[in-house]
């Protein structure tokens, strides 16, 4: 399997701010590759460097065999890009926007019209072709943006947080469309901060403050998580939290309804026993249970735990 995108030591600084701090990336062809990360983790900057919109401070990028940013222009025809913000023209109709993008991508009239008909049918735009883009709902805008980005049959689609302004049903439909594109051979790189979307990707890179904190298939990431996940059920979760705060092995505590989800360092020998003992005096009703890690746990472990480790290291230094 050849890589559609490969980057080595990719970094981007904005003055003193380090947005991307040197990442290595290999995105396989005909798959959906996800960037999962909080706001400001460097997702957009990385995507912009991959399509030549920004010049890396350091590092090399090859996209579909083209060195970027040097050969960006040659790459443009093979690339579809959906920006984070809706960036088609709000004062043009759906049909006019598609027609314009088709012309800009150099599609001949007959081919352009054929592709437009096809996208309008596939992306459920038939009822709104004459409507101005500015009056569309979030879901409609997003379908239009995807239609426009795929009009020239790109080999690679870069999607920067495509579903951030869209309801859950539209998100499901959107992902169905992405899988259809992948089945036809398109490579897709998508950034998101939704766990459920990240789980749908073939492969995933968790970005944190400009670095890749973890990388792999979602299942692998869950299996190889660098933490033990425990759930605690109790009537008095406040007391339980207080008790947990004293334990050095506890790395993160999050409440889910009447349960606490606790991440512990995986070097603990008997995590359930340790927690049970600590909780016994404060909230005797506590039930402690070891559970399967989720992708969110992986995300928390990869981002928060690393941050703590760094802080400790800094203090020691």
């Amino acid at each position: 399997m050849t890589a559609a995108i490969s980057a080595r030591g990719l970094a981007r600084h904005f003055g003193a701010v380090v947005a991307v701090a040197g990442i290595d990336l290999d995105v396989p062809c005909a798959q959906i590759y996800g960037f999962l990360g909080p706001n400001g983790s460097g997702k957009s900057t990385t995507i912009r460097m991959l399509c030549g919109l920004m010049v890396p401070t350091r590092g090399t990028v090859t996209v579909l065999g083209h060195a970027v940013p040097k050969e960006s222009e040659a790459l443009r025809r093979k690339l579809g890009y959906m920006t984070q913000r809706f960036s088609l023209w709000e004062d043009l109709t759906v049909a006019e926007n598609l027609d314009f993008m088709g012309r800009v991508y150099g599609l001949e009239r007959a081919l352009r019209h054929e592709r437009m008909r096809d996208r309008v049918a596939n992306y459920d735009l038939a009822g709104i072709v004459g409507q101005r883009a500015g009056t569309l709902s979030g879901g409609q805008r997003q379908r239009l943006a995807l239609a426009a980005a795929t009009l020239h049959d790109p080999e690679l689609l870069l999607l920067d947080e495509p579903t951030s302004a869209v309801d859950p049903q539209s998100r499901r439909d959107f992902w169905e469309n992405l899988f259809a594109l992948v089945a036809a051979g398109t490579t897709i790189l998508v950034s998101t901060h939704y766990m459920d979307e990240a789980e749908r990707c073939h492969r995933l890179a968790i970005l944190d403050r400009g670095r890749i904190a973890a990388e792999g298939e979602p299942k692998e990431l869950v299996r190889d998580i660098d933490a033990t996940v425990i759930e605690i059920e109790s009537e008095d979760l406040v007391a339980a939290r207080r008790a947990l705060a004293t334990l050095p092995a506890v790395r993160s505590v999050a409440q889910l309804g009447n349960r606490l989800r606790v991440l512990l360092h995986c070097d603990a020998r008997d995590p359930e026993g340790e927690l049970g003992a600590a909780l016994a005096s404060h909230c005797p009703d506590a039930r402690v249970e070891r559970v399967e890690a989720s992708l969110e746990d992986v995300f928390v472990a990869a981002t928060r735990l690393r941050k703590e480790a760094e802080t400790v290291a800094e203090r020691a230094a």
Binding site: R48, C51, G52, L53, M54, V55, P69, S72, E73, R76, R77, L79, Y81, T83, R85, F86, S87, L88, W89, E90, D91, L92, E96, F100, M101, R103, V104, Y105, G106, L107, E108
Partner: protein, 364 residues
């Protein structure tokens, strides 16, 4: 798909968006019309029908002829008679009269001897333009050539190309340049910034559109708009102010085309400098004021200090004023205007080069 077709795609989109922006469409016609009416009717550099009063202490046939001559200049309107010097001063003070003329009792002797003033002109100094009128009136030749008929005045002033000294004749052609400067620079100054602000540019620059296609495609519709405005101004000028075009129309339009392109390229350059539409507007105004004030539209070019003249040389409007005045008023042809055309061409080339150099298909 040729290079030009992609450019046309940009232009077609621009026109479509423009056509949907009703206010802007209104401004395309509205700005020239309103400006022309305002400037054409309101700004009047020549003064006529100034009210005057005469205190004729001489009451001879010569004094009556002097008064009649003053009336014939048309500068003065109705000339009232004042009974005394005090009455005359009161008339001026109350603003009923702007100019007072006192004719000495011994007018004929003073004229003959020529050593003392035979006539005194009192002017309301609060109105600056009137001083010039007094200046003009005092040189009425009849006072120096007493006794000879008015027809044989030794000095006759002939004003070439605008014998009636009507301001409109000077104003309309110059206004054409001023209005084009205003609209062309402002329209294009925001052209690229608008797309940047709305986020369209980030998408557009990931497409195969080149910088040249983008720039030229954006400018093309405005070139047409500029020519429409030129036509509108000249037509209105002809209908409302009787300003005919002495030279050839083709020369006029070719000159206008070059000037429009130069103004658009200035706007485009501003568009590559500004980050927001608001900044672009302010920069456009900064370039517009010197154009209006220093191009010779408002004040005679020759009267300005050397520094100002140097700045004026950089402004496209200065050269276009020369070109259009030449063609419209003096019937000159483009071959007479080569230096001006060359300067406009240099300006256009420099601005386009700077714009393309400044615009990168990147976000950083």
């Amino acid at each position: 798909m040729s290079w030009f077709e992609r450019l046309l795609a940009i232009s077609a989109k621009e026109v479509r968006q423009l056509a949907r922006d009703r206010i802007t469409v209104g401004l395309i016609v509205g700005i020239p019309t309103i400006q022309l009416l305002l400037f054409g009717y309101a700004i009047n550099f020549d003064v006529r029908g100034v009210s005057a009063a005469v205190l004729d202490q001489s009451r001879t046939s010569l004094s009556r002829r002097v008064v009649a001559d003053l009336g014939a200049t048309q500068v003065l309107g109705e000339i009232r008679q004042a009974g005394s010097e005090r009455e005359l001063r009161e008339l001026i003070q109350r603003g009923e009269t702007n100019v007072g003329i006192v004719i000495a009792p011994d007018l004929e002797r003073r004229v003959a001897e020529g050593d003392r003033a035979a006539m005194q002109i009192l002017v309301d100094g609060s109105q600056p333009a009137l001083e010039n009128i007094a200046e003009g009136l005092s040189s009425i030749p009849i006072l120096r050539r007493a006794g000879t008929p008015a027809a044989s005045r030794p000095v006759e002033i002939v004003v070439a190309y605008n014998p009636d000294k009507r301001t409109a004749v000077q104003i309309v052609p110059a206004l054409c340049g001023v209005i084009l400067t205003m609209t062309m620079v402002i329209f294009t100054a925001s052209a690229i910034v608008r797309e940047r602000e709305r986020g369209n540019l980030e998408l557009l620059i990931t497409t195969p559109v080149t910088r040249g296609q983008l720039m030229a495609g954006k400018l093309l519709p405005y070139v047409v708009i500029g020519l429409i405005q030129t036509t509108l101004i000249l037509t209105l000028g002809y209908w409302l102010f009787d300003v005919p075009v002495a030279g050839r129309l083709i020369d006029l339009y070719l000159g206008a085309l070059l000037f429009i392109a130069a103004s658009l390229s200035l706007g485009l350059f501003i568009s590559t400098l500004a980050q927001t539409q608001f900044q672009a507007m302010q920069m456009a105004i900064v370039t517009m004021l010197p154009s209006i004030l220093m191009s010779g539209f408002m004040f005679p070019f020759e009267g300005m200090p050397a520094v100002a003249q140097g700045i004026a040389q950089v402004l496209p409007l200065t050269h276009f004023n020369e070109i259009i005045r030449g063609i419209v008023l003096r019937g000159a042809s483009l071959t007479d205007m080569q230096p001006e055309l060359a300067k406009l061409g240099v300006f256009l080339a420099a601005m386009l080069a700077l714009s393309i150099a400044r615009f990168r298909k990147r976000l950083d």
